[in-house]
Symmetry: C2
Subunit: 205 residues, 2 copies
């Protein structure tokens, strides 16, 4: 599954879309953009396929064009979901990719996914060649780091119910797309508790 990504009409459209995304960026001239586009491959992975297993070394970084990817840990045989990536989000298993160490988590497509994939090796080459590309990456990393600082802070400072309300407000699309037991795990509670939290909220209105 997912080992042999299809090359179809959707793939071509995604390539064009991704290309536009890079070309519109004024930091790049057409030559640079061309080489970057060449380095990126589009992959389609069906729902349920695993992009990265625990123990494997991450070799790629991703830009999600369509679908949803779940990051989870296996703790005492139980899956603990820690993140959902959706459209337009770029991501990688940084610890594993940057240091070449085995990943401690899994990445799973929980919907049919279309991904723009760039190998870490190629990425480094592009950094060397085009400082503008590294600049774009640094800036993106700063944004993401800001997001993570914020998420961690929210998680520390709020209760499960508040976190669910926060999700309702800031990422409502997740609630309809994602199985409730995975959302529960993401909120740090059991599926039963999330069910009760939903009931409590419903009764309050």
């Amino acid at each position: 599954m997912g080992k042999n990504p299809k090359r179809n009409r959707e793939t071509l459209e995604s390539t064009q879309e991704m290309s536009k995304c890079i070309l519109k960026n004024k930091q790049f001239n057409s030559e640079e953009a061309e080489e970057i586009i060449q380095a990126i491959r589009i992959e389609n992975h069906p729902k349920g396929s695993i992009l990265l297993k625990e123990g494997e070394v991450a070799k790629d970084c991703y830009l999600l064009m369509k679908g949803c990817v779940r990051q989870y840990f296996l703790v005492d045989g139980v899956e603990k979901t820690t993140f959902f990536f959706v459209e337009e989000q770029g991501f990688s298993s940084f610890k594993s990719a940057a240091k070449g160490i085995p990943s401690d988590h899994f990445l799973e497509c929980i919907e049919d996914c279309t991904l723009a994939v760039l190998s870490v090796q190629k990425e480094l080459e592009l950094y060397q060649k085009y400082p503008n590309f590294e600049s774009l990456s640094r800036s993106g990393l700063e944004d993401q780091l800001g997001d993570y600082q914020e998420m961690l802070a929210k998680f520390i400072t709020s209760k499960p119910e508040d976190r669910y309300l926060d999700l309702l407000e800031n990422r409502p699309e997740l609630i309809n797309r994602i199985p409730q037991y995975q959302l529960a795990s993401y909120l740090g509670v059991s599926p039963e508790t999330l069910s009760r939290i939903r009931k409590r909220i419903f009764l309050k209105k």
Copy 2:
């Protein structure tokens, strides 16, 4: 407090130490290193001083040479601690600094601190001038992002008691340096609960 940092023997030593840290990095020639060192100023802030207030726009990024800095939010009049920075750690309020928006949190020196400070503006200039410097920054950001991914995952997947045990194992120095009520907040529980958790752990041994 902290508005008028002292220039003393300690400051000079810190400058030398920081300079060595940059010079030893083989990515830089002496000219580059010199300019970077010139751009960085050393500041001493006494215990209790605030580096950044909620509502202010972050203009600097920091490298902590000595002491400990606490990040906290003010939620309904209660301080919620979300991070402790210690020696050798570089940090910034990324969201605020990168986007020029007001900070949603505070940064407080909870010990007498010696900091290497670089303004965001100067930082961007150095990136423009020396791609190697931006490269160093990108790499550092990736490391930090990996750390944050890991921390968030740990927080989601573990209970308060596990988090305390984790702290005992991985950052034991924090436990003796930091008031317990701030640690409790950092672990996401009330001071009373942390006190009881410690008792439980003690009884188990």
